[in-house]
Subunit: 398 residues, 2 copies
C-alpha cells in the first residue's frame, strides 16, 4: 500500500493509504480522487474523524455506492482524507489526526468539515475529492482553499455507506481545481433530469451585506463580469428577519437531527472532542422541542419564499462565505463568530435543499474567497454548465 509519508499537506488520515484501482474505463479514466473519511471503503474502518468512532465500529464490509460509481467511471482512489470530528464544524481542525494545511493560505484554517479533501485538491495531491456538506462542509473549505466545490441538491447523491449527521441537510459533494472536471464528475454522479437556467441573476443582498466589506468588494468585479454574461442582476432581500435569524433556526433543525442521529453513540461512548464539537453536541442534547418546532416552521416558510423565485431558472449569486478562512491563531470566540455569520449564509441553500457551486473568484490580501451560484433543486447539471461559462468569463481554470 502507498505510504502516508508523502502527505506534506496533512490531508490524508494517518496510516497506510486506502487506495483502489479503477474498476473499469470511463469518462474519469486517468483521474485520481480522494474521499473524506466518512465514505465507507470495504475492508477499512471509517473513522468519522474520531479515534473512538473508529474503535467502536468494525471495518466496512461494503464500499459506498458513490465511491464505486467513481471507480466504475475510471477514476482511481488515492486515499481517505481527514474530516473534522463527526463532520460537525467549519474550520477543518482535527486534534486527533492533525489539521490539514491550507495550501492557498498556510497560516489559515483549511475550512471544514471536509478540510482534508479540500487540501488534497488545492495542493494538487489528487484531481478531485469527495466531501459531505450539511451546513457548509464542502462550500466553506472550497472557498477557503481557493478551489471549485459543489453541494448538490439535497438527495441527489446516494448517502448509502456514508456517515450521517443531520439527514434532512446532509449531502455529498466534491472539489476540483477546474470547472470542467467539476461538471465531469457531475455527469457521473448526478441524477438525470431536466432543468434549464434561462432566468435572471438574483443578487442576494442579505449575504452581500453580511459579508465583510473587503470580501464583498473583492467579489464585486466577478459579479459584474457575470452580469456581462447574463444581464444585470436583480437585487433582493431573502430574509428580512436577518441572517442571524436564519442561523438560529438552522442551528435548531441541525441540532435536533444531529442528536437524533449521533446521540446514542455519544451517550454510550462519552468521547472527548476537540474545540467546539463537544459543545455543539452538548447543546444538541438539550434542544427544546418547541425551539426545534419553530426551526422547522421557519424552514417551511423560508422554502415557500425562496423556491418559487428559482422555478423559472433564476440563479442566486452571493459570497460563499462572509469572510476569509480564520487564522490558525484565532480564538474560539472568534471562530464562533465566524461560524455563526457563515452558517446564516450557507443555510440559504441548505434549508431549501438547493444546489450551490462555489467558484474561486477572488482573494483578499492573499486569502481566497468564493462566489456562489445557487439554482432550483434538481438543476445541478445546468448549474454546472453555467459554472463552466462563469469560470471562462472570470478567467478561472476551465
Amino acid at each position: 500500500m502507498t505510504k502516508h509519508d508523502d502527505d506534506l499537506l496533512g490531508a490524508f488520515i494517518p496510516g497506510p493509504r486506502a487506495v483502489r484501482a479503477p474498476l473499469a474505463a470511463g469518462r474519469l479514466s486517468g483521474r485520481s480522487f480522494a474521499a473524506k473519511d466518512v465514505f465507507d471503503l470495504a475492508g477499512h474502518v471509517t473513522s468519522y474523524g474520531h479515534p473512538d468512532w473508529a474503535a467502536s465500529h468494525p471495518a466496512a464490509v461494503a464500499t459506498a455506492p458513490v465511491v464505486t460509481a467513481l471507480l466504475q467511471a475510471g477514476a482511481a482512489l488515492a486515499g481517505k482524507t481527514k474530516t473534522q470530528e463527526l463532520a460537525f464544524g467549519l474550520t477543518g481542525e482535527n486534534v486527533w489526526h492533525g489539521t490539514p494545511r491550507n495550501p492557498a493560505a498556510p497560516e489559515r484554517f483549511p475550512g471544514g468539515s471536509s478540510g482534508g479533501s479540500a487540501a488534497a485538491v488545492a495542493g494538487g495531491a489528487v484531481d478531485f475529492a469527495l466531501g459531505t456538506d450539511t451546513g457548509g462542509s464542502v462550500r466553506i473549505p472550497a472557498s477557503y482553499c481557493g478551489i471549485f466545490g459543489i453541494r448538490p441538491s439535497h438527495g441527489a447523491l446516494s448517502l448509502a455507506g456514508v456517515c450521517a449527521l443531520a439527514p434532512s441537510l446532509d449531502t455529498a459533494g466534491w472539489f476540483t481545481r477546474t470547472a470542467s472536471l467539476l461538471a465531469g464528475v457531475g455527469e457521473v454522479l448526478l441524477p438525470g433530469g431536466p432543468g434549464d437556467l434561462g432566468g435572471p441573476l438574483l443578487r442576494v443582498e442579505d449575504a452581500w451585506v453580511n459579508a465583510q466589506p473587503e470580501v464583498a468588494e473583492a467579489l464585486r468585479p466577478a459579479l459584474e463580469k457575470l452580469e456581462q454574461l447574463r444581464g444585470r442582476a436583480i437585487g433582493l432581500r431573502l430574509v428580512p428577519e436577518g441572517i442571524d435569524s436564519v442561523f438560529d433556526h438552522m442551528r435548531m433543525v441541525q441540532a435536533e437531527e444531529a442528536w437524533a442521529t449521533l446521540g446514542s453513540w455519544v451517550s454510550a461512548h462519552q468521547p472527548k472532542f476537540g474545540p467546539g464539537v463537544g459543545e455543539r453536541l452538548a447543546a444538541a442534547r438539550v434542544v427544546d422541542p418547541s425551539d426545534a418546532a419553530r426551526g422547522r416552521a421557519f424552514r417551511r416558510a423560508f422554502q415557500a419564499r425562496v423556491r418559487p423565485l428559482l422555478a423559472g431558472g433564476a440563479v442566486l449569486v452571493y459570497p460563499t462565505s462572509p469572510c476569509t478562512a480564520p487564522l490558525l491563531s484565532a480564538t474560539q470566540p472568534e471562530q464562533d463568530l465566524v461560524r455563526g455569520a457563515t452558517l446564516g449564509v450557507t443555510a440559504i441553500a441548505g434549508l431549501c435543499g438547493l444546489p450551490e457551486v462555489t467558484l474561486p473568484a477572488a482573494r483578499v490580501r492573499g486569502a481566497p474567497v468564493g462566489l456562489s451560484l445557487v439554482a432550483a433543486a434538481g438543476r445541478d447539471r445546468a448549474l454546472l454548465g453555467f459554472a463552466c461559462d462563469a469560470a471562462a468569463v472570470l478567467g478561472l481554470s476551465v
Copy 2:
C-alpha cells in the same frame, strides 16, 4: 403504560405500548397515531423488526424529529407498529413478532414492510400512522389494506432517527382512512414550496398492462371518474424495455445500497431471517459492481425520460399494485412472482424520487386495490390537494 392485550389486529410490536402525549396543541390535536418500529422514540429500543437488532442496539436517547413534529402538532402516539425485518419485504410477514392481520382481507397478507402501521389504521386503532417506503413499503400495504397512503418526494421528510435501508430510495410516509387527514398530516410534515398540478392525466400503460386483468378492470371506472375531473387521460409507455427491466435495475440499485447500509451489521451478527429477507440480503452481498453501475445508469436515463413529462404539472395514474394482497397460504415462489411484478411498478416513482399517493379505489372479489397518482418531485402538497378532489369524485372517505 397501555397494555398490548387490546391489539386484536396484531399491529403493534409486542410488549408495553410506546405511548406519548402531545407536546402542544395544534392542527392534529385529538388525533392518535402509530409509528413503524423504525422510528426512534427516546427511551425505547428500536427493533427494526428483528430481535437481534433490538438486542444489539441501545435504547434510543432521542426521538426521530418527524415523530416530535407530530407530537408538537397535537397528535398523540399510541404505539409502535410491526415492520418486516429490516423493512426488506412487501408482504408484512414477521416471524418474530407475528404478522399483522389485514383488517380488509383477513385471509391475505397486510402488505409490508410497514404492515403494522397499515393494519393499525385500517382496523381503526389509530387515526394515522407513519411508515417508511423504499421499494413500496407504504404504497403496497395501503393498497392491500384499502386505505390512503403517501410516499412523499425523496428527501421531503427528515430520516434522522429512522432506520435506513437504501438511502437514495428511502422515504418516510403515512397512512390514513380519509383523504383530508392524509393532506392534514402533510401540512405538518412536508416542506414548503410551489407546485401546481394544472397538467393532464397521464395513463401509464406499462403499469395498466402489467396489472392482473381483473385489477385493471376494477380500477378503470375510477380512472374514468378522474377523467371527468381533469379531462381525458393521455396514454403513454414509460418503459419500452418492459416493467421486468425496471425491476431488474431497481433491484441492483437497492441491493448495492442495502448491503452498504446493513452489511456490517449482518456480517457481525449473522442473524436468522424469515422467508425471503435473508435470501435478498445474501444476494445483496454479492452484487456485481458492473450490474450496480448498469442499474445506476438506467436510473439516470429513466429519470431523464420521466421527470420532464411532469414538469408542467401532469399527473401519472396507474394501479398501485398489479394484484391484490397474496393469500397467507401463498408459497414463497408465488410471493416472489408478485414481488417482482410489483417492484417494477413501484420503482417508477421510487427511482425518480416522485411523490405517489394511493387511493383505496376498488376491490377485486372483496380484496382492496389502490389507484396511484404521481406528480413531479416537490409537488407533494398539490398532489395531496388533488387526492382530496379525487377522493370526492370517487366517493371515498374525504
